[in-house]
Symmetry: C2
Subunit: 149 residues, 2 copies
């Protein structure tokens, strides 16, 4: 079932996960996109500000995006697409073996002024480790089609 | 040579690239992190809002991060680390074969109130295709160590 703009309400929430952050994928992702000492090996990370191997924030963001899409699949089925990101913060690090889950909540809905066939949804996605600690908060703006009655 | 907070000035700019967005890497990245029709195959994309295969915005963001790091390596050498993202927008799509370049400019510098050993740098990174069209604007906040005199 597809969800259109008219089907959404502020406060609606979707959950997704778990996703385990594998040590080797953390290192591979970092080699390709974010080759800083704290992401590349235990040895290199020991001398960094973190003192241990941690995942790139971009890896956490990409995994969170995937989880959010699984949870909010009915909205994406309607043809919704990402417009922009309003913020990402990484309050605590993600380590090898951490199990991540996401919670995505609609925090704002409004009609588009320029495009009467769609609305804007602001979605806040919080990513947590298994111990409940928040490792990422991301707020995105997504275009959602209106129902075509 | 490492650059510390005291070595930086608002307006300083770094350039990086080129990086070619390969068709198969676009599809692989999307399969892992952003499996929407417009990123997965030419056939699936034909029925999407884009009508053609385009890269995930998260792929463009990760590539831009890598380019930014190459250009700003002297700052990262000092032990600087990303604190947060204040915004990412994707005004135009990235297609297979597009050649990307980045321009990163310091737009704000201030001392940390809580941590006298470091400052905050706000860095705006603009990613362009070979034809000069802007495909991404990302503003990040980075902690930069102060010189240890």
């Amino acid at each position: 079932m597809s969800l259109f703009f008219e089907d959404l309400e502020v406060g609606q929430t979707w959950h997704a996960g778990p996703h385990t952050m594998e040590r080797d994928r953390i290192v591979e992702f970092a080699r390709e996109f974010d080759p800083q000492a704290q992401h590349l090996s235990e040895e290199a990370a020991a001398g960094s500000m973190f003192g241990e191997l941690v995942a790139s924030g971009w890896h956490t963001a990409a995994v969170s995006m995937r989880l959010m899409q699984q949870a909010a699949a009915p909205i994406l089925d309607s043809g919704a697409i990402g417009a922009a990101i309003e913020g990402i913060s990484w309050p605590e690090p993600v380590r090898p073996g951490d199990v991540l889950r996401t919670e995505s909540e609609i925090v704002e809905l409004r009609l588009s002024r320029s495009r009467p066939d769609r609305g804007l949804m602001k979605l806040k996605t919080t990513t947590r480790r298994a111990d409940g600690v928040v490792v990422q908060v991301m707020t995105g703006v997504i275009f959602v089609p209106r129902r075509n009655d």
